[in-house]
């Protein structure tokens, strides 16, 4: 791999930047791989990277039906944080957050991780009690969390409507200062370049359309580019988990829903942190290009359409404008959506399936980007050794049938009421 550096850029300046190479190869699929990963999103690519780097495996392919990073990885609002309430989630997401802080160096690729602070607003006494509880739970597990007064919130985000007559009065907040945002595409590309440098075949425009079975085991996949044999197969397709697992005859505790996001024209810095809310269905941050990025709730009904409904968008924007009235002056330039894999406790699934040699990574709902490094790390361990890493052991598929769900909101198998 050609290492990127400031010196390389300078040297390139002298010869017209002619030294640039493609960041990964475009290989033909081989007849057989030891490990086949279905899905070239951040999670699949990170898994391949750690399989090669940490476990020393050589014969690995990532199969992507479109282009890498074209799924939820390239569509998300890039919020990175570990401010959950429960221990298994703390352990997994905090492990991930630690990897984020060093990821650009690790990959020799600038993922533009920006720990600008991830803040939840509280709008009532009840909200503040909830936030205090969450902060306490985090601190008990060694994760940073600071409860904020009204004044502290106003100082961090001067454009919030802090008046007593505000539509959503602000009583305070909870901030995780080590949280923030990152550049989504760069995460996919950085892991892809790293994995490729270890010999991983990244095969795009290659959709998995079926599984090759030998008795109770999977021994390969059927794809739009032919049959590919495999020792172990790892599903890693986010919103398409239900569909792909269905090809192997599995029914998952997952429902696919559309999640939308939108961005305004670029402006000078006006939003300093990531603003979320304990009660509202809206979150706001400012991209490094200056656009104000808005997100909200999923369209609360099942969908694989990858296109959202204006009705839901309007709800998120109305709340955002009430929080930061100055945003009403901006023009929205783009809206888009992704297919999210809403699991039936809100937590991910990483581990084996009832089909031998077939593994599943999915159920990330609207919050898996932040977990990309941790997801890849633990899934690689699982695929390499055939058994879970301590961090993903609680996230086994069979937990749902044991009643051992990891349900932060207590809404059970009804993702639309989360």
């Amino acid at each position: 791999m050609n290492r990127y550096s400031a010196f390389g850029l300078l040297r390139g300046a002298l010869n017209g930047q002619k030294h640039w190479q493609p960041a990964w190869r475009d290989p033909e699929p081989k007849a057989h791989y030891d490990i086949v990963i279905i899905g070239g999103g951040g999670h699949g690519l990170a898994t391949a990277y750690y399989l090669a780097k940490v476990h020393g495996l050589k014969n690995i392919a990532v199969l992507e039906k479109g282009w890498i990073g074209g799924g939820n990885t390239g569509r998300n609002t890039t919020i990175v944080r570990s401010n959950y309430r429960q221990k298994p989630l703390h352990d997994l997401f905090e492990f991930g957050l630690k990897l984020w802080h060093n990821l650009s160096d690790e990959l020799n690729y600038n993922v533009m991780f920006s720990p600008r602070g991830a803040m939840f607003l509280g709008h009532s006494d009840a909200d503040m009690v909830k936030l205090a509880e969450r902060g306490d739970a985090m601190r008990c597990d060694g994760i940073d969390a600071d409860l904020m007064t009204r004044d502290e919130v106003a100082k961090l985000e001067p454009l919030l409507d802090m008046s007593r007559s505000a539509r959503f009065p602000i009583e305070g907040g909870l901030i995780q200062r080590r949280g923030g945002t990152a550049r989504h595409d760069a995460v996919a590309w950085g892991y892809a370049r790293g994995a490729d440098s270890f010999g991983v075949d990244i095969i795009q425009k290659c959709e998995v359309t079926g599984f090759v079975r030998d008795g109770d085991a999977v021994v390969g996949v059927e794809t739009t580019r032919g049959r590919i044999g495999a020792g172990r197969v790892g599903i890693c397709v986010a919103g398409h988990s239900g569909h792909v697992a269905g090809l192997a005859g599995l029914k998952l505790p997952v429902e696919s829903q559309t999640l939308q996001a939108m961005v305004t024209e670029g402006v000078k810095p006006m939003i300093n942190s990531v603003i979320m809310s304990q009660s509202l269905h809206c979150y706001i941050s400012q991209s490094d290009k200056g656009g104000i990025v808005f997100g909200g709730d999923p369209d609360n009904w099942p969908s694989y359409a990858q296109r959202g409904h204006p009705m839901v968008m309007e709800g998120a924007i109305a709340q955002g404008l009430a929080l930061v009235p100055a945003l009403s002056r901006l023009r929205m330039v783009r809206t888009w959506s992704g297919v999210t894999d809403m699991s039936f406790d809100g937590a991910p699934i990483i581990g084996e399936t009832p089909v031998r040699n077939l593994y599943l990574n999915g159920g990330w709902c609207y919050g898996g980007f932040k977990a990309t490094p941790a997801s890849g790390w633990t899934y690689a361990h699982t695929l390499a050794t055939g058994s879970p890493h301590a961090l993903n052991a609680p996230f086994a598929l069979e937990r749902f049938m044991r009643g051992a769900t990891i349900d932060e909101t207590g809404t059970g198998p009804m993702p639309n009421s989360r």
Binding site: V254, F344, G412
Partner: protein
């Protein structure tokens, strides 16, 4: 926004309706615990047509079964929910 043809009120904007859950997630009254768990906690979740339970919450408030394509959003059938409509 989808246009849903309520069996009682006629075509109405989707914003008047609330999605509840899929028909295949309703356990029959006599189901064992294991069967009920299986039905509640898994979905066929097809990238195609499925039967869904919706409610005309901001209208006549009746439940109905909507047969809808999950990619095109095309609604092929809406039927009123009676004792015979659910498993």
């Amino acid at each position: 926004m989808m246009l849903i043809n309520c069996p009682h009120c006629g075509p109405r904007a989707q914003s008047e309706f609330v999605y509840e859950r899929t028909v295949d997630s309703v356990a029959p009254a006599g189901a064992s615990n294991d069967e009920a768990m299986q039905i509640l906690f898994t979905r066929s979740n097809p990238r195609g047509v499925d039967d869904e339970i919706w409610r005309h919450t901001f209208g006549c408030r009746a439940w109905m079964v909507v047969t809808r394509h999950r990619v095109t959003n095309e609604i092929s059938q809406v039927r009123a929910v009676g004792p015979e409509a659910l498993p």
